[in-house]
């Protein structure tokens, strides 16, 4: 098992190195660089920036150096000092810029993930066990609606309802009076009172999808002979269903759970833009638009690190859950 983990770690490092390089190449692909954005902005304001100042900017940001030098300077900072570089547009270090937002993103994502699980698993299991019952049809109906309605639409509707009928300050994660306040109990309560709307908005599609998946997986298992064996043994119905087919039906879920990790900080971009949530999604969107290359590069690097770690966690979780996988790991 240890050997397996060690081997996977080595591959992870190689994968990440490759990803970071490719990312850098992709960022550099479009013509121009951050100075192009500066010039465009200046022209939009009717100003003209002299060539000498542009050259000065390029030198300041290191954009005049060859591509490879830029890459290695950046990656050296990341690896040796954990320094993700500077954001041009914000004139701040990338780390300080995204730190807060990533935290809020993760709070939002984890909360909506728990929301999805808490709702989807029981409903999915119920739907499978009572296939074609009125309750199953109702759950399926809601599920299809949940999957079909776009998140931003749902966000707008809920914001309207929240504002019109409940007089809530809509948008953002904090009321105006708390937005810049230091953390205290009031701010926390304020956050929670705001958080449920995006949780529901972000969670609805996921809930709908997971209900369908849970139901389909469980239906595949329900009529297998080992369930008949358990029944023949005299186990009470609910106990045997939970111990045998439900357990088996969760294996596919474990094999994909790790993919949720990168989604934790980038999954809710559109909703965040619509509801102006101070999470990381909108920041990434803005950075890509203005070719703020170290910010984008760092984001992609963080996302891919999470993806790779998530995949590995998935594999380990699956091994823990399913002995057929576990024994294979132990052998090789």
């Amino acid at each position: 098992m240890l050997r397996f983990v060690a081997r996977r770690l080595v591959w992870m490092v190689i994968t990440l190195a490759a990803i970071s390089f490719v990312t850098f190449v992709v960022i550099k692909l479009p013509p121009g660089d951050y100075t192009t954005t500066v010039i465009a902005n200046a022209e939009a304001r009717g100003q003209d920036i002299p060539d000498s100042q542009i050259a000065e900017l390029k030198r300041h940001y290191g954009l005049d150096k060859p591509f490879l030098v830029q890459y290695f300077t950046w990656i050296k900072g990341v690896v040796l000092h954990g320094d993700l570089g500077q954001s041009f547009a914000w004139n701040q270090s990338v780390a300080s810029l995204i730190g807060n937002r990533v935290l809020l993103s993760m709070v939002l994502s984890i909360a909506s993930l728990l929301f999805v699980w808490a709702i989807a698993f029981p409903i999915g299991i119920y739907s499978a066990l009572r296939q074609y019952s009125a309750g199953d049809y109702f759950a399926s109906f809601l599920g299809f609606i949940g999957m079909a309605v776009p998140e931003f639409m749902l966000a707008l509707v809920m914001m309207y309802v929240g504002f019109r009928y409940f007089g809530q300050s809509v948008g953002g994660l904090f009321s105006p009076e708390y937005a810049d306040a230091a953390w205290n109990l009031g701010k926390l309560l304020d956050l929670i009172s705001h958080l449920w709307v995006p949780i529901v908005v972000v969670g609805v599609a996921g809930t709908a999808g997971l209900i369908r998946i849970t139901r389909a997986n469980l239906l595949d298992e329900l009529h297998k002979p080992y369930v008949a064996t358990a029944r023949a043994k005299g186990l009470p119905e609910w106990k045997l269903l939970l111990k045998y087919p439900v357990r088996m039906s969760l294996s596919p879920f474990f094999s994909t759970v790790g993919w949720l990790l990168p989604g934790l900080i980038s999954g809710e971009t559109i909703v965040s833009v619509v509801m102006s949530l101070p999470t990381s999604g909108p920041l990434l969107l803005g950075a890509v638009k203005s070719q703020d290359m170290y910010l984008v590069g760092s984001f992609v690097l963080i996302l891919s690190t999470l993806t790779v770690i998530g995949t590995m966690l998935s594999d380990l979780a699956l091994a823990w859950w399913d002995p057929r996988i576990r024994t294979r790991f132990q052998k090789g």
Binding site: A228, K233, G234, L235
Partner: protein, 332 residues
């Protein structure tokens, strides 16, 4: 002597979209105490459904629509328990403690994500008030008894780590772990190779000697029936057409269907030039049962105006109960 189990006029139907398939339609048979009854017949004659109906294990769309399954107490004179009318709770007590089952596919009928020990211990603790360690000791003892080498280690193995024969042995160990009075074995050797099949059948006979339980063996293989059975019941189209001592039924069958079946089995020493005789005609489609005697369209002894009109009732001829119009008039 009082039988252990008596099935009377059992009817289990499949209610499908385009009609009702009467898979079991008036099965009557009795299982003698401590002996082996083989239930034989072609695929689709309803033998497995009969076996499952005894413990009420049939699932939608199948439904038990009538009949009685009487389980007699060891104390003579006590009222038998009708399993089809029993409350769910009472039925669960009978399952495994009084009547246990072994299924065709050991790989599919054991849970692959639970250890063999776990599955045996669960059954023992469900029906007997014993501690974990005692139940585990019982599991090891049973695994040893069914000839699994190194049972102390194997008790913690998963089913997929064993060979097919060993898996079926583990299944048998599980079935006998609560010392049932009746073991229903539904094609227990069909998925195994011939050598393993012989070993498993020997094992079943040894265990029967040791534990004194009755065995109801479902098989399509007359050779298997001849090897182990004390009694044979022959099924055709959801009915038992003949039941009697194995030696009598297999060497001097009464019913034309049994005769045809016995003729169709190759024998050692049979001359190579002789063609095997197949049962004439084909099994009629499931939605239409022939009138009168259900076997009449394929019968060599068909009597026009009689067999296609009158439904034969069971009569005793020599030691055999047979449902055929050739018998009875003079013996009745």
């Amino acid at each position: 002597m009082q039988p252990l189990l008596e099935v009377r006029e059992l009817r289990t139907h499949f209610e499908l979209g385009d009609g009702v398939v009467k898979a079991v339609d008036g099965v009557s048979l009795s299982v003698p105490r401590g002996r082996t009854l083989a239930v034989v017949g072609e695929s689709g004659c309803g033998k497995s459904v009969t076996a499952r109906s005894i413990l009420r294990l049939v699932e939608r769309p199948a439904r038990i629509v009538g009949g009685q399954v009487l389980l007699y107490d060891d104390v003579a004179g006590k009222e038998p328990l009708d399993l089809l009318a029993a409350k769910d709770k009472r039925l669960r007590q009978v399952r495994w403690a009084d009547i246990a089952m072994v299924f065709q596919e050991p790989m599919a009928s054991l849970s692959l994500v639970h250890t063999i020990g776990d599955q045996i211990i669960e059954a023992v603790r469900l029906h007997e008030n014993v501690g974990k360690q005692a139940a585990r000791d019982r599991a090891i003892e049973m695994l040893d008894r069914v000839g699994i080498p190194d049972p102390k280690r194997r008790v913690d193995s998963y089913p997929f780590q064993l060979s097919g024969g060993m898996r079926q042995r583990a299944m048998i160990a599980m079935a006998l772990s609560c010392r049932p009075r009746l073991l229903i074995a539904d094609e227990p050797t069909t998925a195994l190779d011939v050598t393993t099949q012989a070993q498993i059948l020997d094992l079943l006979q040894d265990l029967q000697q040791e534990f004194g339980m009755a065995i109801m063996l479902i098989t399509h293989d007359l050779g298997v029936a001849a090897q182990v059975a004390d009694e044979v019941a022959v099924m055709y189209l959801g009915e038992v057409v003949e039941q009697g001592p194995a030696s009598a039924v297999l060497s001097h069958p009464k019913h034309p269907y049994t005769r045809a079946l016995v003729r169709s089995v190759p024998r050692l020493g049979q001359r190579g030039q002789e063609r095997l005789v197949a049962v004439r005609g084909t099994v009629p489609p499931p939605y239409e049962r022939p009138s009168g005697c259900r076997f009449h369209p394929r019968c060599d002894a068909f009597m026009a105006g009689k067999c296609d009109v009158t439904v034969p009732t069971r009569v005793r001829s020599d030691e055999i109960d047979v449902a055929c119009l050739l018998y009875g008039e003079e013996e009745r």
